[in-house]
Every structure is written in structure tokens, then in C-alpha cells.
């Protein structure tokens, strides 16, 4: 049996200190809100339809003879329901979101304004291409800037999220190997400091995954990687900056070694925010890298927008990229290249170098995210994007250095961190854990950071502040985290019962996993439902 090395433990709520109860269950002006079905009644409706004239329907005996029994709500009830729910949410628009995740940074309102222009918002993917030249121009221009910013050769725009992009890149590697008849390369090497989706992607694409250990400094063990290379290795999937928040300075040497051994290098670009405008992955010998538009290029995701994960490709892999793609010809026309024209178009314009592995999506990708990302790139400019990376790294290092005296920072001696600062639970007394710190932060009004990831750090706390946060906000967060961490290290029993002030106290995660309630059950069926 393999052991859960992260140190994570489920928590069961403390029976003590249940807190003062109110008759309504509301906590001051934070209101308890039932499910919408539970508020509704079949006697209520928010709309007033005229009685339909359905005497001449053709359903015969199939017409419904009893009322359908759907509960309805009045308009004010509906408005209040959703407004109450929205107040229980926490989002980047409310405060610092220190998770190293897709919700991490501000989504500029200018992006939203541009994305809502009718010429972008109201187009249909099956419209004749002559009528959507502007929208295709956005895809093509964004493609240009992504290639330029990464120093790569081509880009596949259609993948719809980071892991989808990984799959696209790995399928390109597979297609390139098959095209040269090199079918014995079945192994994909994945360092411990890579993202968790990487091994899943490689396995899904049919490769056998092998781990490469991390050094104590939190970086790829170059010697171990080189020793494993050989005629059975298809490539390596490496995350840079890696999940320990560190830059992999030996990536060029890794790429050269992998290429010399006949493999390809996939780079997970989820943390590109820390190096955009400063480092071009193409210069490091990368063959494929996905870019999370919903991270680095500020398109909304965690709050409810779709992801978007274009994949930039090296010259070696570009011919195998997916269809469709856009191409601008000398006459200024932008073409959408689909299966029917792919060979003919590449013969005419690319010397016939095209051997697509197929499609990733039905259409062209996340159009609404393309408009937002291009807006972000153009409104920041090259100097602004470089400053994004510099400020994000500066903020993360500020958090790291201001907290390393109260929290153990396992990679503090490995030099400056990149996008994120990482701490461990070393020094906490028995019975106190990273989870207690996270729950305590909720009481302090902050969304907790990522906890128990990366797995290689025991009781990991991962803070990714990004460039969004001001020094004043970071100082508030640091003061809160210092206070909670100090309480944890002192063994303050009240921390075990945190959060004290949230709408819900500590949840019974074990019970939820052992006896999950996955389907809504009508506790007291509406008396009139069967009428």
C-alpha cells in the first residue's frame, strides 16, 4: 500500500463549543438559505401566462391529465434566493484569493467590456467565415502573441483547459513518434515536482508513467533524469516554475539531454504567470507547453468562466497540431483550416508539412476567453506583461520572507521563490495541523491558501498572491496568517474548533465521504405536489 505522504488528515467537528444557536438558524445578517425547491410552492409563480389553446394537439391519449407539480417562486423570492446565496460566496472580487489556482488574480473589467461587443459575443461557430473575419482575426492575433511571448513555432488554440492542453501536447508527441515509426517509446518521465495532472495525461494518452525524484532543494534530480533516458522514453513532462514554487534552472540541459536521447519535452505552463515577458520557453528547448489563459492572461475561471488552454509547439511538433486552425494569407483574408482543406492548404503555404493528429474540440476553442486574453495582452503591452511577472514574484517573495520566522519554509534556502511561497507544518505541536491554520484564516476573513499540496511537503501551505495584491493587502494577510500560525504553534485549543464565525462550523468530512448524500431528498413533500 502506498502511503499518503502529504500529512493530510480528515477532521471531525469538535463537539465542544457548538456556539450560541439562534431560533432561525441565521447568524446575524448572514441568512440560512434552503434549496430553491424547498422554498417553492406549486401555488406560486413568477410569470403570468395566458391560458394556452391546445384543443388541436396531436398527442391523443398521451396528454397529461394531472398537474405537473413543479414548484414556482415569485420574482422577489427568486431575487432574494440568489442574492442570499451570492453573499455566502467568496471570490477574487471580495478579497485576496491566495490559492495557487485559476481564481488567483483580478479579471480586468476592460476584458469583459470587449468580450461583450456584439461582433464577438453574438457570432456562431458555423457562420460563413467571410462574416466573422474580425473574430477569426482575434484568434489569429492572439495566436501570434502567444507564439511571440513563448518563442515557439506554432500554437494549437482549441484546447479548453490546462489538462486538455496537456493532452493535446502529449498527443502531438505521440503523433510525431508514430510519424517517424518510433513506436517503442512507451515511457513518459514525470518529475515529482510536476503538476498532478501530468501523469494522468500521459497515462490517458497510453504512455507508462515513471517518476523522477526531486532533490531536497525542491528541483528535478538531473542526474536521475539523465540516467533514465533511453530508447524507450517518449519524453518528459516538467512543470516550470515547478510546484515547489521554484524555477528549474537546468531546464535547457534537461531538454538537450532528452532531445539527444530521441525524446520530446512537454512543459506544464500553468505557472507561466511568474515568467511571462521574462523567459521564453522556446529558448529552453521546450517542444510543447500549454498556457492557461484563465491564469496568466486573467480570463475568469474559478468564478464561473470556462478555462482555455492553448498549446504552443516547437517546429518539430507543429505539423502534428490539431485542427481547425486559423491562417492569414497575403491578401489579408483569415482562413479557418478544417479537414477538407488541411492538406491542400499546407501544400500551398507550409510546404506540405502538416500531419494533424485530429481534433480536440468540435469548434475553434473558447472564443470568449480569446477576446479577453488578447485584450489583456494588448492593454498591458510587453512592458506591462513583464511587470506582471516581476510583481507576482516580488509579492510571493515578500510573503515568504515575512513569514519564514513563524512558519517552516522548506525551500527558503533554495533561493528566491517564483509564483508561490510554500510553508510546512514542521514545529506544530501534536494534534495541530495545517487544516487548523486554514480554518483559523476563515475566521480572520481570508480564503485559505492551498493546503496539503505539493505532496512532497508535509502539511504544505501554498500561497500564490500574484501581482494583483497591494502591499497593504499582503500585510493584512501576513498579519492574519502570523497570528493563526502562532496560535497553532502554541497549541491554542480554540483553533481546533475554528471556524467560529463562518455560516458553517467545521464539517464532518469523514461522515460526508462515508455516507454521502448525492441526491436531493424531499424531507416533507409538498402537500399539493400530486394534485
Amino acid at each position: 500500500m502506498s502511503v499518503n505522504q502529504s500529512g493530510w488528515r480528515p477532521e471531525r467537528p469538535s463537539a465542544a463549543d457548538a456556539g450560541a444557536a439562534t431560533a432561525t438558524g441565521n447568524r446575524a445578517l448572514m441568512l440560512e438559505e434552503p434549496l430553491i425547491f424547498e422554498i417553492g410552492s406549486t401555488r406560486t409563480t413568477g410569470v403570468d401566462f395566458a391560458d394556452g389553446d391546445v384543443r388541436h394537439d396531436r398527442l391523443g391519449d398521451l396528454t397529461r391529465k394531472t398537474p405537473i407539480g413543479l414548484p414556482g417562486l415569485s420574482e422577489p423570492e427568486t431575487v432574494r434566493h440568489y442574492t442570499r446565496l451570492s453573499r455566502q460566496n467568496y471570490a477574487i472580487d471580495l478579497g485576496l484569493f491566495p490559492l495557487g489556482s485559476c481564481t488567483m488574480k483580478h479579471n480586468p473589467r476592460l476584458n469583459e467590456r470587449i468580450a461583450r461587443l456584439p461582433g464577438f459575443a453574438d457570432v456562431h461557430p458555423l457562420q460563413p467565415v467571410d462574416t466573422v473575419q474580425g473574430a477569426l482575426g482575434v484568434i489569429n492575433q492572439l495566436a501570434f502573441w502567444l507564439i511571440d511571448l513563448t518563442g515557439m513555432h506554432g500554437v494549437a488554440m482549441s484546447p479548453k483547459a490546462g489538462a486538455h492542453g496537456e493532452l493535446c501536447g502529449v498527443l502531438c508527441i505521440k503523433a510525431a513518434l508514430e510519424a517517424r515509426g518510433d513506436t517503442e517509446r512507451r515511457v513518459m518521465l514525470v518529475p515529482e515536482s510536476a503538476h498532478g495532472t501530468n501523469p494522468a495525461t500521459a497515462a490517458f494518452a497510453g504512455f507508462t508513467v515513471e517518476d523522477i525524484p526531486a532533490t531536497a532543494a525542491g528541483r528535478v534530480d538531473l542526474a536521475a533524469l539523465k540516467a533514465r533516458l533511453g530508447p524507450d522514453v517518449a519524453g518528459v513532462m516538467i512543470t516550470n516554475p515547478n510546484t515547489c514554487g521554484l524555477f528549474e534552472p537546468e531546464l535547457k540541459e534537461i531538454s538537450d539531454a532528452v532531445h539527444a536521447a530521441g525524446g520530446y519535452v512537454y512543459c506544464d505552463g500553468a505557472n507561466f504567470n511568474a515568467i511571462v515577458g521574462r523567459v521564453r520557453p522556446g529558448d529552453l528547448g521546450i517542444d510543447a507547453m500549454h498556457i492557461n489563459l484563465h491564469k496568466t492572461f486573467s480570463t475568469p475561471h474559478g468564478g464561473g468562466g470556462p478555462g482555455s488552454g492553448p498549446v504552443v509547439l516547437s517546429e518539430a511538433l507543429s505539423p502534428y497540431g490539431p485542427l481547425p486552425y486559423t491562417a492569414r494569407t497575403a491578401d489579408g483574408h483569415i482562413h479557418l483550416i478544417e479537414e477538407e482543406r488541411a492538406q491542400e492548404f499546407s501544400d500551398e503555404h507550409f510546404g506540405g508539412k502538416h500531419d494533424s493528429f485530429g481534433r480536440m474540440t468540435a469548434f475553434h476553442g473558447q472564443m470568449g476567453m480569446f477576446t479577453r486574453a488578447l485584450t489583456y495582452i494588448l492593454s498591458h503591452g510587453a512592458d506591462g506583461l513583464r511587470q506582471v511577472a516581476e510583481d507576482a514574484v516580488l509579492n510571493a517573495n515578500y510573503v515568504l520572507r515575512r513569514l519564514e520566522d513563524v512558519l517552516d519554509a522548506p525551500f527558503a534556502a533554495s533561493g528566491p521563490c517564483m509564483h508561490e511561497a510554500i510553508f510546512s507544518d514542521a514545529g506544530f505541536p501534536d494534534g495541530f495541523s495545517t487544516l487548523d491554520v486554514a480554518k483559523g484564516l476563515i475566521d480572520e476573513g481570508f480564503h485559505p491558501m492551498t493546503i496539503y499540496f505539493p505532496l512532497v511537503v508535509h502539511g504544505a501551505m501554498l500561497v500564490e498572491p500574484t501581482e494583483t495584491e497591494s502591499k497593504a493587502t499582503l500585510d493584512q494577510f501576513i498579519d492574519a496568517l502570523r497570528s493563526v500560525a502562532t496560535r497553532a504553534k502554541a497549541g491554542d485549543p480554540s483553533l481546533k474548533a475554528a471556524p467560529h464565525f463562518a455560516p458553517r462550523r467545521r464539517l464532518d468530512e469523514t461522515l460526508a465521504a462515508r455516507k454521502p448524500v448525492l441526491v436531493w431528498k424531499d424531507k416533507a413533500p409538498l402537500a399539493d405536489a400530486a394534485e
Partner: protein, 123 residues
């Protein structure tokens, strides 16, 4: 009856040609509260090191490997309803499966209780 241990924290108790397999107290402590266990079907043939069962705690899912080769004669049905038996009695009522050993002498390659204790102490 003699009991043997693996470096992956499985135990096997041997009675003639029959072995009973589970995970150790140390393993359940590392996993935390167990919420789901999948045991192998009767009749399944396992080689040493094969993925034989799955154990899930709230956060982590782990494979349980066959300590030695054999044919499964019984999975512990009680674990379906009461996966927490693995927490409360890992080396007793929380056993995972029984198998007929293909080579009863193969257990000699595993650790005995003292060796396992010092192995865990070294972790």
C-alpha cells in the same frame, strides 16, 4: 500462526496454504479515516505485487498489493458496509482478503514482525 509484512505495509497471516491479507496499523494511521474499501473477487489470480484491493480515505486512494502470489478465496464483505473496521481493527476484523498461496514458501522473502517494526521505526 506466523505473520509476515511488506515494505508497502501489508500483512499476511499464513495457515498452511491459506493466507489472510490486510494493511498494518501503521498504514491505517497514515491514511486516516477510511471511507471505502474494494476487495478482490473470489477466484482472481494474483501475482506477487499485483494491485489486489483499493483503500480510500477521505483524501487519498491507495492500492493494496498482493504480498505473494495466489488465488483469492474470499474478500472481506464486511468492509463494504463498515470500512472503518480497517481503522479500528486493521490487523484483525479489518482484513481485506484470503487467498490460496501458489507457493507457501514465498512468504519467507517477507519481513517478520520484528523486522517490520524496525522498518517502520526507520521511516
Amino acid at each position: 500462526m506466523p505473520r509476515f509484512f511488506t515494505q508497502d505495509h501489508e500483512w499476511i497471516e499464513v495457515d498452511g496454504t491459506t493466507g489472510t491479507v490486510g494493511i498494518t496499523d501503521y498504514a491505517q494511521g497514515q491514511l486516516g479515516d477510511i471511507v471505502f474499501v474494494e476487495v478482490p473477487a473470489e477466484g482472481r489470480t494474483l501475482a506477487k505485487g499485483d494491485e489486489a484491493a483499493v483503500v480510500e480515505s477521505v483524501k487519498a486512494a491507495s492500492d493494496v498489493y498482493a504480498p505473494v502470489g495466489g488465488t483469492v478465496t474470499e474478500g472481506n464483505a464486511a468492509l463494504t458496509e463498515e470500512p472503518d473496521l480497517v481503522n479500528s481493527d486493521p490487523e484483525g476484523a479489518g482484513w481485506f482478503f484470503r487467498l490460496t498461496l501458489s507457493d507457501p514458501d514465498a512468504v519467507a522473502t517477507l519481513m517478520d514482525e520484528d523486522a517490520y517494526k524496525s522498518f517502520v521505526a526507520s521511516l
